[in-house]
Each structure stands twice: as C-alpha cells, then as structure tokens.
C-alpha cells in the first residue's frame, strides 16, 4: 500500500491539566472511509479538532500528503485540503442555506464552485428547496446535510465528519449515511467520527476504537463488526 494521505503519529493533546489524547496513531488512505469510534469523552472530537488545527498538539505529528501540518492555523488547513463538518453542525443560523454553502467555498477562486453547488443540491435536494431560508430555521437533519455540503464546498481531499448522526431522526440518519457513501464513491476520503458504531462500521472500510484517549482496537470494519468486545460495548448485543 502507498503512504497514507492523512497520518497521526504518537499524538498527545492536553486540555489544560487534562491529558485528553495519550499518544495515538491513526492512518487514513486515499479513497477510504475510516471511522473513529468511542464513547462520550473518549477524545474523538479532540482528535478531529487537532487535525483541523483548532487545538495544538502537546507532542507527536500529523502528516498530510507527507507533510507535517500540526502548528498550521485552522483556516490554512482548509486551504490545504482538509475540511470538517463539526460536531453539533454549527451551521451559521443567521445566514441563508446558500450563504452557508458560499462560506464553505470561502477560499476558492476556481470556476468549479457552481458545479459543486449543483452536485450538493443533487445529493441533498432539501437544500435546494430551502436555499433562501435562514439555516437556523432548518431541522436538525437538514442542518446536518447543510454542514456536510458546506464542508464539501471547500473541495477538500479529506472530509472530517464529526457525529453526523447526533440528535437526528433515524430516517434522516440513513439518508445522511447513504450520502456519505455517495461522496466516498466520487473519490472523497472520509474520516468519520461516530457514537453510532453499527451504522458507521456498516459503511466504513476500517475502524479505530478510542477509549479514554487511547486506541483500544483497530482493524477492517467487517472484523470490528463481528468482534465480541465491540458488540458488547458499542452495539448492544
């Protein structure tokens, strides 16, 4: 296999006095969906925020395309090709759906923006109906679709998705996970953080399980799905 597109090497992160991440290693190869599982407070969001440059590392490295990117300001990471749909969606409530998508493509100056917008509208037809509505008036599921589409509008090489199923009606969760698969089929590399382990492992190629800041398990998604420990801890069997 070639080198990973995104690689975390022995990363430690502190929140003040709290040692949140204890030296984790994680690789994401081009074209993969990799899922990072774990319970609340395991450090999943911290890991994504570290990749996006929102939280500094205490030690270790994050490599993207073979280059060290930790220490780079968050807004520059986006330009390098890593976009994130954050936990809780964080769509801009006072901006319209269309304006939110424009913010997604904030750094772009190419002429493909319109075409990508069309692509997102096809993937999430709801967004077209609501394009002039303020994002704050959307339902939770629609906001999640918008958050993913907005991240995609940066035209990244790697898409980081933080808990897209959080607090969303089951029927929309299914639609969102199908959309994630669609994006992956178009060639998008995806790192998916989830508490909904079953849904995530169903669509992922590989998975990691994070427990209190350490990688407890890792492997192909199908293996993790049938692993008795995982079934007991995360799948409710």
């Amino acid at each position: 296999m070639s080198d990973p597109l995104l690689s975390i090497k022995n990363m430690h992160v502190h929140y003040g006095a709290i040692h949140a991440i204890h030296g984790i290693n994680l690789d994401v190869y081009e074209g993969e969906i990799v899922t990072l599982l774990g319970s609340n407070g395991a450090g999943k969001t911290t890991t994504l925020h570290s990749i996006s440059g929102l939280i500094p590392l205490s030690s270790g490295e994050i490599l993207y395309d073979g280059k060290i990117i930790n220490g780079t300001p968050a807004h520059k990471i986006v330009g390098m090709g890593i976009a994130q749909s954050p936990e809780g969606r964080l769509v801009f409530p006072d901006l319209t759906v269309k304006e939110n998508l424009e913010m997604g493509s904030f750094l772009r100056k190419d002429d493909r923006i319109g075409a990508d917008l069309q692509e997102m509208i096809q993937l999430f037809p709801k967004l077209k109906e609501r394009s002039k509505q303020l994002a704050g008036t959307l339902s939770g599921g629609e906001q999640q679709m918008l958050a993913i589409a907005r991240a995609y509008m940066a035209k990244p090489k790697v898409l980081l998705l933080d808990e897209p199923s959080l607090g969303i009606a089951p029927i929309l969760v299914q639609a969102i996970f199908e959309a994630i698969v669609q994006l992956n089929k178009k060639g998008m590399t995806i790192l998916l953080v989830e508490q909904n382990a079953y849904a995530a492992l169903k669509i992922a190629h590989r998975g990691y399980v994070l427990t209190t800041g350490e990688i407890a398990m890792q492997g192909p998604a199908s293996e993790l799905l049938s692993n008795p420990e995982i079934q007991k801890a995360y799948l409710g069997h």
Binding site: L54, A83, P86, G88, L90, F92, M103, F106
Partner: protein, 299 residues
C-alpha cells in the same frame, strides 16, 4: 389653533430634530460597540476614545487647511488604524484570558487615551475650526442647522454602507459567520483574526466620523470628549440588543430622542440620568434589548 397647543407642537418637532441629530451620533458610536461585542464578546470601553481620536484627527486636518469633505474620511481611517493597532497589541494577546480581564484592560486603554491626550494636547477644549458655512434654516417654527443636516445625512450614508457591507459582501458574510462561532468560521478557511481587525477598523472609523461631526456641530474638542458619548453609545447598544447591528441604530435614536424630550419638556440636568434610567429599565424587563431574541438550539 390654540397657541398653547401650537407651541407644544413646534417644541416637540424641534426636540425631535435635536434628538434625531444626537441619536445619529449615538448610533454611529454604538455600531462599533455592538459589532466588536458581536464578534469577540468584548465590551470595548475604550470605544469612546476612537470618537475622540477621530475628532482630533479631523481637527488637525482642518487646521492644516484640508476641506471638511476630506478631513472626515482621513479621521475615519486614522481612528480605524489606531483601533486595529490596539486590538493587535493589547486585546489579541488577552483574548482567551476571560471577559473580566478584557473589560478591565479596555477601561485601562480608555484612561490611557484620555490622559495621554491631556498630556500631549492639553486638557483645555480647542475651538473646532468652522470649515463649513453653518447656516440655520427655518421651516415654520422648526429650526435646524447645516451641521445637523450633515450629521443626519452622513450617518444615514454610513449606515446604508454598513448594511450593504454586512449583508451583501463576502467580507460581511464572513463577519457574521465569525460572530456566530469563531471555530466554525475557521473551519471554512476564514482567517478570523483578519475579520476581527477589520471589525475594529470599521467600528472605530464610524466612531471617528461621529467625533468629527460632533466637533463641527458643537464647535469644541477635548481629550475627555469621548467618555460620555462612549457610555451613552454603550447604553444605546444594550438598549437595542448588544451584538445586533440594527439594534444599535434603534437604540441610539431612541436614546437621543428620549434625552432631548426630557431636556426640552423637563429639565436639562436630567439628560445623563435618563440614559442610565433607560438602561436599568431595559436590564430589568428585557435584558436582551429591544431587538434581542433568545436563540434556542434546534435538534
């Protein structure tokens, strides 16, 4: 018409015009307060000093022979640059230190400019050179001056410009995004530090414009002149709903008109008391301000 009633009517109109003039000034200053608060949740108590700095830049420009139409934009740019420098070297390093340290720092900056001004320029009020012909117009029994027309029209132009900037430009949308959530904005690739600098610049430029207009209207400038308008503008911003741009305009106009009605119909010495009475009433009954709403998160 009964003469009593007609006197009342003309008085009322005159007070309203004076209130509108004063309110426009409060609104211009309040806009900067509210924009800075909206973006970094800082009550910038030094904001009134940008009003004073603008007035003095205008004063020196006009003294050196510049026409008013040029002195005002120069004063705006000058105030804006001072604010950007203050943000960069003072507020940015303490941005994550919490609200109380930031507030105290802002008060410190305010005092710094007031007393540095007294040291360098002197505490005496300076006569603002009359660079325009200030005529008084009469319409029935209503009186108004060239400087009043200038205040109201230039405020209106600046507000329309701000409306366009915030709602229709990419920069404005990025400002709104940053003010909602700085991390989310960073994740879009928005350099939030640049947006914050820009917000300070625009806010201080508006305060600077107000300073020049006040200098022209009242005819004097002094290093302490920013203190009371700064406080009043803060009240106006809270009154309208701090962080809400149209709220600052509404709050400024309501405050200006209320003050002038009190001064006209009651007692001039109550002018400053009225502002703070309104503030207390608002804080008691609608803490989020006239246009404030409580936002609920949707699931």
């Amino acid at each position: 018409m009964d003469s009593h009633v007609s006197y009342f009517f003309w008085d009322l109109l005159n007070y309203l015009i004076n209130g509108l003039t004063q309110g426009s000034i409060y609104a211009l200053v309040a806009l900067g307060y509210t924009m800075v608060f909206g973006i970094i949740k800082l009550i910038n108590f030094a904001h009134g000093e940008f009003f004073m700095i603008g007035a003095f830049i205008g004063y020196y420009c006009i003294l050196s022979g510049m026409p008013f139409a040029l002195a005002m934009p120069v004063a705006m740019i000058g105030s804006g640059i001072v604010a950007v420098i203050i943000e960069r070297i003072v507020y940015r390093p303490i941005r994550h230190a919490g609200r109380i340290p930031a507030l105290i720092t802002a008060l410190g900056i305010s005092l710094f400019f007031q007393y540095a001004g007294q040291m360098i320029i002197g505490a005496d009020p300076k006569a603002f050179p009359s660079s325009i012909e200030n005529k008084t117009y009469q319409l029935g029994e209503v009186y108004f001056s060239t400087s009043q027309i200038l205040i109201v029209t230039s405020s209106l132009i600046l507000m329309l410009f701000l409306y366009w900037l915030v709602n229709f430009t990419k920069m404005g949308k990025a400002m709104r995004a940053t003010s909602y959530n700085m991390k989310a904005a960073e994740l879009m690739g928005i350099d939030t530090n640049k947006i914050i600098s820009f917000t300070f610049f625009v806010g201080a430029a508006f305060a600077g414009a107000a300073g020049v207009l006040v200098g022209l209207h009242y005819g004097t400038v002094d290093p302490m002149m920013g203190m009371i308008p700064g406080l009043k503008a803060f009240v106006a911003a809270v009154l309208g709903g701090i962080g809400i741009i149209p709220g600052a305009v509404l709050g400024g106009l309501v405050l200006g008109v209320a003050e002038n009605l009190v001064v006209g119909f009651w007692m001039a010495t109550y002018r400053d008391a009225i502002a703070f009475t309104i503030l207390i009433i608002i804080l008691l009954f609608k803490p989020s301000g006239l246009l404030g709403v409580n936002r609920r998160e949707k699931v």
